[in-house]
């Protein structure tokens, strides 16, 4: 399957190049934990993770990065639609010094699901996914998958979460005291901690 996707991809002209906004927060804690790269469908892009998430991820011992794909945040618009956004995400992931964990929020989860069919993510978290019903193809490299969301989020209803999780042969992790905006809502800390706990556990 992934060979076929590759053959199809190289027949098309590659997406044009845009200068991508990447925000990073390195960690002082030495360890073997994989770095984390975040992406959201929110038009703020990387900026959405700046206030709370990146600092907290770094405090928990992982280098933290967030990217704005084309048309988001401070990244200019580009061509190629979905393929262009997936291209931006994969390009950012491979530019990191080590194989990374990717977290995709909202539409970002859709881009991540596509990116993971090309780049062997260390693990991936599909958080409150939007526009994603089933995997475009299974992730390469045997990545561990977590599907998570809020039971009160109408943009990413529980039924859909269960369906997507089922396709990845897992069950969704559900939070209740938060809406769709996991990055800046008042209750951001507990879900993020739960996600990082899952990552720590899955690396053991």
């Amino acid at each position: 399957m992934s060979l076929e996707l590759w053959q199809r991809r190289i027949r098309k002209a590659p997406p044009n190049r845009v200068t991508r906004e990447v925000i990073e927060k390195l960690t002082d804690i030495d360890g073997a934990a994989a770095p984390v790269l975040c992406v959201t469908g929110d038009p703020r892009g990387a900026g959405a993770f700046e206030k709370h998430w990146l600092g907290h991820i770094a405090e928990r011992g992982r280098a933290a990065y967030a990217v704005s794909v084309r048309g988001q945040g401070n990244t200019p618009r580009g061509d190629a639609g979905l393929a262009g956004k997936v291209h931006d995400l994969v390009q950012t992931a491979v530019s990191l010094p080590r194989r990374a964990v990717l977290i995709g929020h909202g539409q970002g989860a859709l881009w991540l699901a596509h990116a993971a069919t090309r780049y062997p993510v260390d693990a991936m978290v599909l958080l409150a996914p939007q526009g994603l019903r089933r995997p475009p193809a299974m992730p390469v490299g045997g990545a561990k998958v977590l599907v998570a969301g809020s039971s009160t989020d109408r943009k990413s209803p529980t039924k859909r979460l269960e369906q997507v999780a089922g396709e990845y042969q897992t069950a969704p992790l559900l939070f209740s005291s938060i809406g769709h905006d996991f990055m800046t809502d008042a209750g951001w800390r507990a879900p993020l901690d739960a996600i990082l706990d899952w990552l720590d556990d899955s690396e053991k």
Binding site: Q7, K12, P14, V94, L96, P120, G142
Partner: protein
């Protein structure tokens, strides 16, 4: 005598041995590990990169070498090159790409540097004994592996032709392997022999640096420019995938004819084959230099005569330096020829199933022993994925593996290259990228479908 001497083998269990840490070796380490295998890789040199590391003694690189296939088609399918790199990156960028790949996936701790393979010998149950000699130590170590992937490359053992009178030639003759940069040409009259990609690159360098440059070619080739319609030529070609092969060829030949015109006007022989029936020459400069008179095309050499070189058209030149850009031959001195299907009929070239699997052993593979009409790296990536999946299936169910082997043998019956590819040793390894990828794809699909739940 060391702890694990020549008689008893230290058993590495299920681990796989990879020979060489160039492009193919690195791909093998990463993809085998990704499928759950332990890997020990042995590299003769002290650094990764193989041919792409110009500091290695037998590297075919020279200062001006760039990729001849464009970046998006050349990069590994799961680890793209940075998109702010040029369309045709320099060889030093390719090396830095390989280093980033090794760091990103943490491959370096699997590599033993300064370790040369002396021997590989089949042991019981398809396993292999590998005898390793390190640069420092005097006695060899013998280790036992579940499988061996040979990735020692095929562009390091120079091939030198022999012409009459060559030994007595009073100028200097070198092989392109020892050519590094244009300073070698300064103040000299240079004859470059061979019209492959290195030959054309070197002739173009001599055109601007040497006092005179002649370029000898045995036959006419198609020269594809690096750009067509303002796009890398291979991307234009890849966009035509939907056309039947014959039409696609006719279209490409027409485009090249329109851009470059009649080869004979430039003093070059007409190509004696259709496009893609010989390894492609991708060079935008050679016609330019011929047009400026700074490269003078010549036919094949008839003989050397004292200080002179006589060509088959009886013309005579007096070069100070002759550069043989006549290519390389694969060499597997550590291994019984039969294991790789090498026999007197094969000219020293292996005959492998699907140009990958040993015909004599289920657990011996040669990765990267290909020449492709497009980029090579992705094909080797898929080769190493196929090896990993094959070993997974074989571990889970040896019976099933036997069935797959018969499919692999039937894929071998497929033609990987154009049926009319010109028949010279240089083209023994030639494959059509599209056909070969599809063939490896079918092998991977069969292995995937047959290993439901059996793998990791």
């Amino acid at each position: 005598m060391s702890e694990y001497g020549m008689d008893t083998a230290y058993d590495r269990g299920d681990a796989v041995c990879v020979i060489g840490a160039g492009v193919s070796g690195l791909l093998a380490i990463k993809n085998l590990r990704e499928h759950g295998f332990k890997v020990d890789c042995y590299e003769k040199d002290t650094a990764i990169g193989g041919s792409w590391n110009i500091t290695q003694r037998n590297s075919p690189m020279y200062a001006s070498a760039h990729l001849i296939s464009s970046r998006p088609l050349t990069e590994f399918p799961d680890f793209p090159m940075p998109d702010d790199w040029p369309d045709y990156p320099h060889h030093s960028q390719v090396l830095s790409y390989l280093e980033r790949y090794a760091d990103h996936f943490g491959l370096r701790d699997a590599i033993w540097f300064g370790s040369e393979i002396e021997r590989i010998e089949p042991a019981d149950r398809g396993r292999f004994d590998v005898v390793i000699r390190s640069a420092a130590g005097s006695s060899g170590r013998r280790l036992r592996y579940a499988a061996v992937v040979i990735a020692n490359g095929h562009n390091w053992d120079p091939y030198m032709p022999e012409y009459p009178g060559q030994q007595a030639f009073r100028g200097q003759i070198i092989h392109s392997v020892s050519y590094q940069d244009a300073s070698r040409f300064r103040g000299k009259k240079v004859l470059v022999v061979g019209a492959g990609n290195s030959g054309c690159d070197l002739a173009c360098e001599a055109a601007v640096s040497a006092d005179a440059c002649w370029h000898s070619a045995r036959r006419g080739y198609w020269h594809t420019p690096k750009y067509l319609y303002g796009k890398p030529a291979d991307q234009v070609d890849a966009g035509l995938w939907w056309l039947p092969t014959g039409l696609r060829r006719r279209f490409s030949e027409r485009v090249i004819r329109r851009a470059l015109g009649d080869h004979r006007r430039f003093g070059l022989p007409e190509p004696d084959h259709r496009l893609k029936q010989a390894h492609p020459i991708v060079n935008s400069h050679i016609f330019h230099h011929i047009g400026h008179g700074s490269i003078v095309p010549k036919p094949d050499i008839a003989r050397f005569d004292g200080r002179k070189v006589v060509f088959t058209d009886d013309s005579v030149v007096e070069p100070d330096l002759v550069v043989m850009a006549t290519g390389y031959r694969p060499r597997f001195s550590f291994c019984d020829p039969e294991l790789l299907g090498i026999n007197p009929d094969t000219n020293g070239f292996p005959r492998l199933f699907a140009q990958l699997f040993s015909p004599a052993s289920e657990t011996l593979f040669v990765a990267g022993l290909l020449q492709s009409d497009s980029a090579l790296f992705p094909l080797v990536h898929w080769q190493t994925v196929a090896i990993a999946k094959w070993l997974q299936v074989r571990n889970a169910s040896p019976e099933r593996a036997k069935e797959f082997r018969s499919q692999v043998i039937s894929e071998t019956g497929q033609r990987f290259s154009d049926p009319n590819t010109i028949d010279t040793p240089r083209h023994t390894l030639e494959v059509s990228s599209q056909r070969y990828a599809s063939s490896i794809g079918r092998i991977i699909d069969t292995l995937d479908n047959g290993s439901d739940g059996a793998g990791k």
